[in-house]
Subunit: 195 residues, 2 copies
DNA sequence: TCTAACTCGTACAGTGCTGTTCGAGTTATG
DNA sequence: CATAACTCGAACAGCACTGTACGAGTTAGA
């Protein structure tokens, strides 16, 4: 997989990845034709750059994780107490988590689990570290496994996205409900602070 | 849709529904052939009773809701305070909620939304009533919309099922983590009781 | 026991997807 | 401007699925 030499090839790869990320992140059941069409590229060209659905999926997953980590890094969460960091993270970037959830559904059937998990690890580590810090600071609960809390976190993000998509909550309401709910789950019940 | 007259026909319909409920509830991407095979019935016979995938889906959904409501009714939740009722409901029947989630994925693409929502309503009403009661009793929070809390509830159930399926939690751990988490979400933060 | 009801395998048409091949056209780049 | 790199549509093979048709076999039930 040597980098393609000509500029138009690189530009098309870029377009394809952008379109695939957009599509995969917005609805299930996306086909290769859909991606090609959305990228403004022939189906044959798509296959020229990504020989199989799995290859495209892996590339999209890699990019999604990179974008997410980059977005989170830009928020300066390390300076905040863990619970405020979680709130700031959700307020600033929760759509990214939602996108990742849909994306997962579009990719999971194509890419081998290890390959997928390998790409996903940096995110897991980030969240794990944040939860561990909150626990050390005494603001997060210690009676439930960290892995469970992260899973619950993701599913609540997805829940908020569902509510918003269905029009039952405005974006602003959704994010605030999400913040309140996630903090209810994570916080040590001995503490009763407001954010 | 007149009831079939002969006993073997009714027996096969029964087998088909049972197999479909089992399959739809356990994994995504179930085909008509899968259902026929699992029911021990020819594919043609399956189509004789359920002319289309949508018909089968609607019938399965209807049965699933009926079973769920029946199971919940048998728990005597009305006699308990709302938070204990939620805990008892999860400890007794949480698998049913999980199954319904998978099932939804297998059916949602085939059946028209109104038809599906109509069947689902009794469950929604049940949960809505339970949450409203808890709010009236002062044990559940009043700062978030009921619809959101129900959505969060469902997604947390799904999260617990994921963790168990992945082997990261034993069934016993999963249900206890789920109970603790759901109660953290639902309870009025002013109160700090244990269950 | 006789018949209508039911079941079954096989085979077919139609659809939509993945992935490949071909051949001709376009474009970047030295 | 020449050529290699790239793109494109059209067409094909293969697969899996849904739904239908046929004809022969089995079974419930009066």
């Amino acid at each position: 997989m040597p980098e393609p030499r000509r500029a138009d090839a690189r530009r098309n790869i870029e377009r394809i990845l952008a379109a695939a990320l957009e599509l995969y992140g917005s609805r299930p059941g996306v086909s290769m034709s859909d991606v090609a069409k959305a990228a403004g590229v022939g189906r044959v060209t798509l296959y020229a750059h990504f020989p199989s659905r799995a290859d495209l999926g892996a590339a999209v997953a890699e990019r999604a994780v990179a974008e997410t980590v980059a977005a989170l890094s830009g928020l300066g969460l390390d300076a905040l107490p863990a619970d405020e960091a979680v709130a700031a993270m959700l307020r600033g970037q929760w759509r990214i988590f939602e996108r990742n959830e849909y994306l997962r559904g579009n990719i999971v059937a194509d890419v081998e689990p290890e390959r997928l998990r390998a790409g996903h690890d940096p995110l897991m580590e980030y969240l794990t570290a944040l939860l561990a810090r909150g626990r050390a600071e005494g603001v997060f609960r210690g009676d439930l496994p960290t892995g469970w809390l992260i899973t619950a976190f993701y599913h609540l993000v997805h829940a908020a996205a569902d509510e918003q998509r269905a029009g039952r909550l405005t974006p602003a309401e959704a994010v605030e409900a999400l913040v309140a709910t996630v903090l209810s789950v994570l916080r040590n019940s001995a503490v009763g602070q407001r954010d």
